[in-house]
């Protein structure tokens, strides 16, 4: 069944696995195909009827999401008949839609809008009072808000709670054009992955309370990154925007598909962790909580090193990029310091589940292990140089390199957060992944590597 065979799509020859889904091939090959209900992670449901294609030998148009690839199959995706079918069905999808795009958060990334531009462009033939009215604001819980009027009943969200999280909170009630998505009476959408339904929703029916009304999506800039919430290394998009006269701000994390790591989803905690990255940041170098110039800070650093040359212990945060860790090791060698990265502090058994969440909350702990860095606690330290490690240990003197404000009475260097820097991480399964530099702050903090270059012993 799994032999590679040739399939002709609109006159062009493509290769695909026999018995695989036709829609997967069309999406992969970039053939224009509209669809709402199909999703790679959820499989075919066949309810939206938008992905109709012509198939040689078949009397009627067939839905590509329920068509298995056969040898020498000939597929037509842009004939007049197919275009008309798609236009007709799209008109029905839009029949009871409120067309409130100007106030809809999905506008700009909405399948309905996109397909309307491709296949619709028709005037509405129904009067507004004839449209089916429904609730515009249903708070489902877990920061997800439902607009039942915008819903196209593709059932992706309900299938997600049935098939992926097995929590079954969402369902469709009612028949015909009064069918709507809802929760069971008295129940809330509550599972650690609930907000994925917002990404799954092809239209503006499910929106995130956290993101809604905060930005128009076409203003956002997107960069690829890796979530730092745990060692799983879920692939994410960082959506950020720098408004005029304001600083570059992250508005949301979204899951980025990577079948080897996180599939199509991320957990809600990871999704909302963008807030922690931005809040309470260390924005300049300080000494005893008082801002100091960079040059002064560097000379103080050098002074401390001269004063304490015995028992210099370096602490490394297991969330730093591999490149940073390597640079620190190099630096440690030059000053003959011992390096530690105690991992116990990252362990959080309560966080783990059998989907994506790992009990180890350090996104690059694997590199710490790979580089044979000690995971013991340092003791008898004279001087500790802490590179963003969350724990503090006793010492005569401490120097901190921090992304976030620290309450130690010491010399503190502000460093860039992972979103403002690029590098690689190795996840719990040993997969090494790269991130992109996303955020460009008005007052950018140097990365650890930049600081070490500037200090230049």
């Amino acid at each position: 069944m799994s032999e590679i065979c040739e399939v002709i799509v609109d006159g062009e020859i493509h290769e695909a696995k026999e018995g695989s889904l036709l829609i997967d091939l069309l999406i992969e090959e970039g053939v224009k195909i509209p669809y709402f209900c199909y999703h790679e992670s959820l499989g075919a449901d066949g309810n939206c009827r938008m992905c109709m294609v012509g198939i040689k030998g078949e009397k009627r148009p067939q839905i590509a999401c329920d068509t298995l690839i056969k040898k020498d199959m000939e597929v037509f995706s842009n004939t007049d008949v197919i275009k008309k079918v798609r236009t007709d069905i799209l008109e029905l999808e839009l029949l009871n839609h409120p067309v409130d795009c100007p106030i809809c958060d999905q506008a700009g990334e909405c399948s309905l809008q996109d397909f309307y531009m491709d296949y619709g462009l028709h005037e509405s033939k129904v009067e507004i009072e004839d449209k089916v009215k429904n609730s515009k604001h249903v708070d489902l819980g877990s920061s997800v808000v439902l607009d039942q009027e915008r819903c196209v009943l593709c059932a992706r969200c309900t299938r997600f709670t049935t098939e992926i999280t097995h929590t079954n909170e969402l369902g469709i009630v009612g028949r015909g054009d009064s069918a709507k998505v809802t929760t069971m009476p008295g129940r809330e959408l509550s599972n650690p992955y609930a907000m994925n339904v917002v990404d799954l929703c092809p239209v503006g029916a499910l929106t995130s309370k956290d993101f809604r009304f905060s930005q128009r999506v076409w203003l956002l800039e997107t960069h690829n990154s890796i979530c730092h919430g745990c060692a799983k290394g879920c692939n994410i998009y960082i959506d950020h925007n720098k408004l005029k006269y304001k600083d570059d701000v992250i508005y949301r994390f979204r899951p980025r598909k990577n079948l080897e790591v996180n599939g199509h989803f991320i957990c809600d905690e990871g999704r909302l962790s963008y807030k922690d990255v931005q809040e309470n940041r260390q924005e300049f170098s300080t000494f005893n909580h008082i801002e100091v110039e960079q040059d002064i800070a560097i000379s103080k650093f050098k002074n401390f090193l001269e004063q304490h040359h015995k028992n210099i212990h370096i602490l490394i945060d297991a969330n730093l990029y591999t490149e940073e860790i390597e640079a620190i090791l190099e630096f440690a060698k030059s000053i003959k310091a011992e390096v530690f990265s105690p991992l116990e502090v990252y362990t959080d058994e309560g966080f783990a589940d059998d989907m994506l969440k790992c009990s180890n909350r350090a996104s690059n702990y694997k590199t710490i292990e790979n580089l044979n860095i000690s995971t013991e606690n340092p003791n008898n330290s004279e001087l500790i140089i802490n590179f963003n490690h969350p724990q503090n240990f006793e010492s005569l003197m401490q120097i901190d390199f921090c992304t976030h404000k620290s309450d130690t009475n010491s010399l503190v260097f502000a460093i860039a957060a992972f979103t403002e820097n690029e590098g690689s991480l190795t996840n719990v399964d040993g997969i090494t992944q790269q991130t992109q530099k996303a955020v460009k702050k008005n007052n950018p903090q140097p990365s650890i590597i930049e600081w070490l270059t500037r200090i230049d012993l």
Binding site: A44, G46, N47, C48, R49, M50, M52, R60, P61, D66, L68, V85, D88, I89, L92, E93, L95, N96, K125, V126, D130, V132, V152, L153, G171, I172, G174, R175, G176, D177, S178, A179
Partner: protein, 407 residues
């Protein structure tokens, strides 16, 4: 007209729903044949008899039975479809009211043939009183030791028309929303919790005892070559004696209406007939003239035999109002899964409401045709295509009435 009582044999006997009376009139005699035939032989008899599914589709029952694995490692099930919700159809409830033991007898035989140990009867929620009769009969059968080879459980539906569609019925029985399933790529049985399952209509199962007892040839003596046997045809609407009367296939429709129904009410002229429940295209009086009641003739006439429940309309019937009434039903009952059906039925209903309110325009009629086109052949089940054929048949056949309504 030839007297034929295969399923309705005991209907007129008083107390026939009780085991005592039923047994007195030879109920459960066919069970003795289980010793004579193997399950596969029994399926062959049903296939040779060309018993066609009596729930509306008319597909060969034997071929469906053959799809059930005879030596699979999973348990097999029988689901008897008693979700009788097609407007104009009320035959299954006659069987349950007057001869529930015939159904139980049929179930026992069918379970033997498909090697099933458990049968479910999916009964529509509104049939509470018939369910009680049936349950009493099942209890009697258990007490009498008749149900040693298989169990029978009644599953009560929640009142959705679409649950009469076999895959939606099984979804509903599994405790899910009654949504039809995507059609399999090859011929295979239905699946109930992943186990092979046969779904047949009440009347189909109730015909099995006769065929097993008397042989396939005895059944084929009735009806036509392609549509052998009998059906519980029914009549409602403008007819003097509405009701269910069993007849063989292939008889003249008008003769049937005259003979059993006593002709059109108040001596009026016949205007139209919906032959087998509202999902079948309407036929004008002229089209009914030489029409016979069998699957093939109905198809040739551009409609279908459906369940055989005829709706008779006299010359004064307002066809626009009839269509509106039917569309209201479809609007209410579309399961809402596929877009064309979910939105198409609602929109058609609203347009017809507009026409009934004398606010319709010619464009609305065109739109109805367009909608009929979108709803045809683009959905998971045949609900929307039925709506489509109903819309087209009404508007084309009674075009002048619709045009008057929109002028």
């Amino acid at each position: 007209m030839k007297e034929c009582k295969i399923v309705s044999r005991k209907f007129s006997i008083e107390g026939s729903h009780t085991l005592e009376v039923a047994k007195h009139h030879n109920a459960y005699r066919s069970l003795e044949k289980r010793g004579e035939f193997t399950p596969t032989q029994m399926i062959k008899i049903i296939k040779d008899a060309n018993l066609r599914g009596k729930g509306g589709g008319g597909a060969s029952a034997g071929e469906k039975w053959e799809l059930m694995p005879q030596d699979g490692d999973k348990p097999s099930f029988l689901a008897v479809n008693c979700d009788e919700s097609e407007p104009g159809t009320f035959k299954d409830r006659q069987i349950i009211t007057y001869d529930p033991h015939l159904l139980i007898e049929g179930i026992i035989l069918t379970c033997y043939a498909i090697k099933s140990k458990h049968a479910y009867i999916y009964i529509r929620g509104e049939y509470k009183e018939y369910q009680d009769i049936l349950q009493n009969a099942i209890d009697e059968a258990y007490e009498d030791g008749l149900l040693e080879s298989c169990d029978i459980t009644i599953h009560r539906g929640a009142g959705a028309y679409i649950c009469g569609e076999k895959s939606a019925l099984l979804e509903s029985m599994e405790g899910k929303r009654g949504h039809p399933r995507l059609k399999p790529k090859q011929k295979e049985p239905e699946w109930f919790f992943g186990n092979p399952t046969l779904v047949n209509n009440v009347e189909t199962i109730a015909t099995v005892p006769f065929i097993i007892q008397n042989g396939s040839d005895a059944y084929r003596e009735y009806g036509t070559h392609c549509s052998p046997g009998t059906l519980l045809f029914g009549m409602s609407g403008h007819v003097n004696k509405p009701g269910v009367y069993e007849s063989e296939f292939g008889v003249s429709m008008l003769e049937y209406i005259e003979h059993f129904g006593g002709g059109v009410k108040n001596g009026k002229k016949l205007k139209a007939v919906i032959p087998g429940g509202v999902s079948c295209g309407v036929l004008t009086a002229r089209e009914c003239k030489d029409l016979t009641l069998d699957y093939e003739a109905m198809r040739t006439a551009g409609s279908s035999l459906g369940t055989g429940g005829m709706i008779i309309m006299d010359e004064d019937t307002d066809m626009v109002a009839v269509l509106k009434n039917i569309l209201e039903f479809y609007h209410e009952e579309s399961c809402g899964q596929c877009t064309p059906c979910r939105e198409g039925t609602g929109w058609s209903d609203k347009i017809l409401q507009k026409i009934v309110n004398k606010r319709g325009t010619k464009k609305d009629l065109e739109k109805l045709f367009e909608l009929a086109d979108v709803m045809n052949g683009k959905t998971i089940c045949v609900f929307a295509p039925s709506v489509s054929s109903v819309l087209i048949s009404f508007i084309t056949k009674f075009r002048d009435e619709f045009e008057r309504a929109v002028s």
